[in-house]
């Protein structure tokens, strides 16, 4: 077949012609397949093209893959081994770590306070079931939290956030207070704690969306990184535009940029 000969045959249906490769790959809908087959009965140009595509595809199938360097697997295993031995902790883990220590201290304090409060109305509580007991604790925490969060001292507000985390079935009010704290509290530590507490409630879609929205407002790199990590783990797709913005914005902190770019590569 010479080039000249090919040029004399021309297909006049570009739309159908564009489907030929997909036809060979069996990727067309039944309707499209019928259309293409009907067209092939009358179009020698397409028939010829189909044959060429088939040839080239066969050629590709016969082309062997190139072997990667022999020690590639060894290198990967070595990297895996290094990674599984805990060494330096990343920023977020350090943050989590110190926060967990604070949290533990507060829980101990809280446990004491809660038992004291619960023991007082002894006759009534002894009769009530465990469920309602838990309910009471939960309610008490909500009240304490609402009161503490208004405090001027960051450590009190930290406690408030910790109360919230302990509430088993948080009311929308609690999540709202936490979101408010995450977005507006002047102390980075309190905001971090709020983010941490909200993670517990992330089964709710509204909370995830709110976390993604919050990322847009945060200016502290540490918080941005923590939120990105959290949202990636939650597969929160709505965060993608913000991440893209971060990766393009020159003002973004280098580490945040890196985090955002990596996150974009793994969010399907």
């Amino acid at each position: 077949m010479t080039t000249q000969k090919i040029n004399t045959m021309k297909c006049n249906n570009t739309q159908i012609n564009a489907l030929l490769t997909a036809y060979l790959d069996k990727a067309l809908t039944p309707e499209e397949t019928i259309m293409v087959e009907a067209h092939l009965n009358n179009c020698s140009a397409c028939l010829h093209e189909l044959q060429e595509i088939r040839n080239i595809q066969q050629q590709i199938e016969q082309t062997p893959l190139i072997e990667p360097p022999e020690d590639a697997e060894k290198r990967f295993r070595q990297m895996l081994e290094k990674q599984s031995k805990p060494k330096k902790r990343s920023i977020t883990i350090t943050v989590d770590f110190s926060w967990k220590k604070i949290a533990a201290a507060i829980i101990i304090f809280l446990a004491g306070a809660a038992t004291a409060l619960l023991i007082q109305p002894n006759t009534e509580t002894s009769r009530s079931s465990l469920a309602s007991l838990e309910n009471q604790v939960s309610q008490m925490r909500q009240v304490l939290m609402a009161a503490l969060i208004k405090n001027d001292s960051p450590s009190d507000r930290l406690k408030a956030v910790q109360y919230a985390e302990q509430i088993s079935k948080p009311s929308p009010e609690v999540t709202n207070i936490l979101l408010e704290t995450l977005n507006h509290d002047p102390s980075v530590n309190v905001r971090l704690a709020a983010a941490n507490a909200l993670q517990e409630f992330a089964i709710h879609k509204e909370v995830r969306t709110a976390l993604a929205e919050s990322l847009q407002q945060q200016s502290d790199p540490m918080l941005q990184i923590v939120l990105i990590k959290m949202l990636v783990q939650l597969h929160e797709q709505s965060v993608v535009p913000t991440l893209q913005q971060f990766s393009h914005d020159e003002e973004t902190h280098e580490m945040v940029k890196k985090e955002a770019e990596e996150a974009l590569t793994v969010l399907l």
Binding site: L19, Q59, A72, E73, F76, H235, T265, L267
Partner: protein
């Protein structure tokens, strides 16, 4: 371990059994390596990028969604990493294919007729844009379905049907032009 699906293994990795990722590396690294090579990444960088893909899978194992197609995820990451690689190296779309692809044929294929054909194919591949090589690679060399390719490249199946044909058309033009000479 062959009876375990990629997805089962990845789920184990996610649950902390990270050593098992070596199995997935073993299964897929050759294809991944060729994906980079055939799109225009040099030999040593292809290995580097391949390691990066698996490092990233390890690092983000928690974000793996249960039952999600592992290869689809792997190629999505691979594609993003490769794009970044081209960007930072400031090379334009028309990358030359690595010499290894052509040299390899001379060393490995005994049949000179076969050798000639593969050479023509690679030369044709070299003459089409990197995005087209990527599509052809995913579809033909990796055997991915159009639905998966659409997801990996962030477009619709309808668009892939047409794009794939355009890519093959360009390849075909170069391929048969050479064969005729």
């Amino acid at each position: 371990m062959d009876w375990l699906s990629d997805e089962d293994i990845m789920q184990e990795v996610k649950q902390g059994n990270t050593d098992l990722l070596a199995l997935l590396f073993h299964r897929h690294h050759k294809h991944l390596f060729n994906f980079f090579l055939q799109t225009g990444v040099e030999y040593h960088h292809s290995e580097d990028l391949m390691q990066q893909v698996f490092y990233r899978i390890l690092k983000y194992r928690n974000s793996y969604r249960e039952h999600a197609d592992f290869r689809k995820w792997m190629f999505t990451i691979a594609r993003n990493i490769m794009r970044k690689h081209f960007e930072t190296r400031k090379r334009h779309q028309e990358q030359d294919l690595p010499d290894i692809l052509l040299n390899f044929i001379e060393n490995q294929i005994n049949n000179s007729d076969e050798e000639e054909k593969i050479k023509i194919l690679y030369t044709a591949l070299e003459n089409i844009p990197a995005q087209d090589r990527e599509l052809i690679n995913l579809s033909r060399f990796q055997g991915m379905k159009y639905e998966d390719i659409a997801e990996i490249t962030g477009t619709t199946v309808g668009a892939i049907k047409v794009k794939m044909h355009r890519a093959i058309k360009k390849l075909r033009d170069h391929y048969f032009q050479k064969a005729d000479q």
